[in-house]
């Protein structure tokens, strides 16, 4: 019903696909996406840091990390691996968690599929992120600590209550 086709409000099923080519072999790229010592160096948007990051790289295994704000706030996230095909593919679901890697109840998850393809020593990385709902998109954005917006526990609690109130 929208004249402008680009709007296409597929609210029930949103996805974002971002692709980039890097001048490194695929095996190194896979390590950079699956090893804590690498992820700690580039995953979080500055000024956030990742003081804690653990990875259990197997289907059903958990990637658990903490994003630390300059104000001293810790925000934990966890991803559960669904599929691991080194060095080609990673599929995982992500949501907010506590410091013990328990997911925050009521928080929607989003699904990420990472594809790594190599050609002439260069690796193309495709991130496909799927949101089951608008709420899942919002959680994903919050997880990314969008543009210096700091997420407090109070806000999270309020948000979860809002979700559960329906």
């Amino acid at each position: 019903m929208f004249d402008d086709h680009s709007l296409s409000p597929r609210v029930g099923e949103q996805e974002v696909v971002v692709e980039r080519q890097f001048s490194v072999p695929r095996t190194l790229m896979f390590q950079v996406f699956t090893q804590p010592e690498h992820l700690k160096r580039w995953w979080a948007p500055p000024p956030y840091t990742i003081p804690v990051c653990t990875i259990d790289l197997r289907p059903g295994g958990i990637w658990h990390y903490c994003m630390h704000s300059p104000e001293g706030q810790d925000q934990w996230a966890r991803a559960v691996y669904r599929e691991i095909v080194p060095p080609e593919k990673l599929v995982y679901t992500t949501t907010f968690a506590d410091e013990y890697a328990n997911p925050i109840e009521g928080m929607p998850e989003h699904l990420t599929t990472m594809l790594f393809t190599e050609e002439a020593g260069k690796t193309s990385v495709t991130a496909r992120v799927q949101f089951a709902s608008a709420a899942a998109l919002k959680v994903a954005l919050d997880l990314g600590m969008l543009q210096g917006m700091s997420i407090t526990w109070e806000y999270l609690v309020e948000y979860v209550q809002e979700l559960q109130a329906k």
Binding site: V18, A135, L137
Partner: protein, 116 residues
Amino acid sequence: MKTLWAALTEPNRLHIVELLRDGPLTVGEITERLGLQQPQVSKHLKVLSETAIVEVQPQANRRIYKLRREPFQELESWLQSFRRLWEERFDRLDDYLLELQATEQPTRNRSEDTNV
């Protein structure tokens, strides 16, 4: 924006929005397609009107519900923010990989030296 998320996380309301994507409908038509009771549908439509997701157009003696464009433009801009988040993440990854290769270079040269 928060109210938009709240309004759409209710499955029936999301379903109504999905139905209205194909064009405006009356309460009766929505009720029929959802297989719910009319009071329930009216309640959901009230929430969707209050959050400005749908608007009502009286037509003769009927009330036609249709989606408003603005909330979805907002949703689209949130999606764009998410895309930007990943673009920036790729920028950081690029910087990090350059850094990695810069530190790896001497190591590789050393190992070549020992082979000689």
